[in-house]
Amino acid sequence: MTKRIFAGALLGSTLLTGIAQAQEVTLTIESWRNDDLSIWQDQIIPAFEAAHPDIKLDFTPSAPAEYNAVLNSKLDAGSAGDLITCRPFDASLALYDGGKLADLSDLDGMSNFSDVAKSGWSTDDGSATYCVPMASVIHGFIYNKDAFDELGLEEPATVDAFFAVLDAIKEDGGYIPMAMGTNDQWEAATMGYQNIGPNYWKGEEGRQALLSGEASLSDPEWVAPYEQLARWGEYLGDGFEAQTYPDSQNLFTLGRAAIYPAGSWEVSGFNTLADFEMGAFPPPVPNAGDECYISDHTDIGIGINAATEHPEAAKTFLDWVASPEFATLYANALPGFFPLSETPVEIEDPLAQEFASWRQECNSTIRSTYQILSRGTPNLENETWNASAQVIKGAETPSDAGARLQEGLASWYEPKP
């Protein structure tokens, strides 16, 4: 079935481009994934160009922190590339609303994706989709298997077991129990709050309740993750207040720390850096037997610059990106980025497989702050970074944090029931 769609898309697009233009076109891709430069250059681009000799691709990433600013400036001035890597939700929605991204609703390849997968790059009412979903990332904990074996520990399933494991590691003293710092703030929010939170607020159910105004950020299910975070502080390394994200990554991969609150995107980097065996477990549930929830966040998509001079060639490329062939290529070149297409993709990396397997056992949700709730001032995502870091440091109590976030949100957000 999918093979036929793919072949059809391929045929259709080659015919189209064959008629439209005989000469070669070069498409420039804007991206924030500068880490993936060599993977694009060595694997993805050659694979595409082999099938489409008349289209050349140029992958030009900028650093993630500057990407939004650089991209918006270039789009405003008209010097941006033909293909735009899309952040999920509002950042890209603003570009679509501003006429910078082309509507892709009728792209053939879109049929390979579920509505949930497309939700990150669709208008609020779901009527138009403007980016092809590429991958999602899953949160959980990566741990040092050698350290766990040495100390006779097992993957914790509940929060109590989790803290028992942390206590045991701390008591032994050979390892820092958990590698995380608060200097960069986003780790605390993304790998902390958004990682463990869905188990408390019950994933999508809680997120929708927040959107509709039935729940508030000062409710127990939204404060409970902060209460857990507040207990993390004593298990982090000395001086974690000034520990940065690369510090944390290095602490773990050098074998000094036993557990790493993670996003699955770490998998490929950690595979090359760590020389011990790694395992992963999903965020522990509050009580044994609770249903589990994971953050399976639609993270990266790709769309067309509405001002491109080569819309047909760009569509040809996006049809290819929507194909199972690309999904397999991408998932295995970058283990930890999970394709969103409905065709199951064979993932070879064992650690990435572990992450992906949670999709069967647990309910997926996306990060709570990403859709709609970060549109106003104060910005809920930024405030969540701040609050998570403050709570871990003990500078703010969980209930104060929850109350402050709710107050900020309520100051501009009018729930639509």
């Binding site: 207040e241 000034a242 930024n382």
Partner: protein, 311 residues
């Protein structure tokens, strides 16, 4: 009074003035002033349902009246003053002292010292931020290790991660980086003091330290004035170091947020926060006003009072 020469020919158009000014004024106006004002003008507009509409001073009312904005603005402004104070109190005296030592004609290896001390100034913020984060890191232990070696381990703290110390630490890193600038400017000024003046002083028995205080310092006051105002302007435009070391949210808990980072976050957006050119321009205008006031105070309050000597 500035030593302006009175030109001999009066009312005709003096074309040479035009020729001298034209290239600078043209490039500067076209590439800098027009784009800047094209942007600052946005402070008077806002976007309502996709349309850009004129709102007068509404954005400024939001900036100063809405606690969500005004709290951040005053916090950034206060931090900025602290940042500037540290520069004035630490960077400039060290720079002057180094220049005074270096300007001694008998000093050996002065070329080497001069070059070495200036090297941090030529490094990019990325390098400076990275290097100091590495040194001060509580984990990789260069600073804690060194303090340990002299028995002062207890003095170590994760300075960049603490609200009380982060901004001061960053200011001191910035001082470390830029101390070469006052040093060089003062050094140049000290060298250009004619020997006759110093010799005349010596005949009156003014040497050594008192020669520095009584003769040299008054003569280099204009240079110190320039340095102070340059430091002021540079500090209130600063952005890169804090951005490189602490990110656009200028943590912890905005304790290292200065006007530059506040502006960047607002104008270009950050993470999920969308860029808002209108509020961003309002902040830029406010920054511009702060700097303009400072510069005017200097130009009309201080510069005109400094005696300038034609040497």
């Amino acid at each position: 009074m500035p030593g302006t020469a009175v030109s001999s020919h009066a009312p005709r158009i003096r074309w040479h003035i035009v020729v001298f000014l034209a290239p600078a004024v043209l490039v500067y106006t076209a590439v800098m002033i027009l784009p800047l004002f094209d942007t600052l003008r946005l402070a008077l507009y806002d976007e309502v349902e996709g349309q850009r509409v004129f709102v007068g001073l509404e954005n400024f009312r939001t900036l100063f009246g809405d606690p969500n904005w005004s709290r951040q603005f005053w916090n950034a402004l206060a931090n900025n003053f602290w940042f500037f104070l540290i520069h004035m109190a630490v960077q400039n005296p060290i720079g002057i002292a180094l220049a005074a030592i270096l300007s001694n004609p008998r000093l050996r290896f002065s070329g080497f010292y001069r070059s070495a001390i200036f090297i941090p100034t030529i490094l990019s913020f990325v390098i400076v931020g990275f290097a100091w984060k590495l040194i001060l890191s509580p984990i990789w232990g260069i600073a804690p290790g060194m303090l340990d070696a002299i028995g002062l381990k207890s003095l170590f703290a994760p300075w960049l991660g603490r609200e009380e110390t982060a901004l001061t630490t960053l200011a001191l890193i910035s001082v470390w980086q830029f101390v070469g600038i006052p040093m060089m400017l003062i050094y140049a000024a000290l060298l250009s003091i004619p020997d006759e003046i110093l010799e005349a002083g010596e005949c009156d028995g003014v040497t050594g330290f008192s020669a520095f205080w009584k003769i040299k310092l008054p003569l280099i006051l204009p240079s110190i004035g320039i340095i102070s105002i340059l430091t002021f302007v540079a500090n209130f435009n600063a952005f890169d170091l804090i951005y490189a070391a602490q990110g656009a949210l200028a943590g912890p808990d905005f304790s290292s947020d200065i006007l530059g980072t506040f502006l960047y976050r607002t104008f270009f957006g950050f993470q999920l926060q969308l860029g808002d050119p209108h509020m961003g321009s309002a902040i830029a205008s406010a920054m511009f006003a702060v700097i303009l006031i400072g510069v005017c105070l200097y130009l009309f309050g201080i510069q005109t009072r400094i005696r300038r000597y034609q040497l």
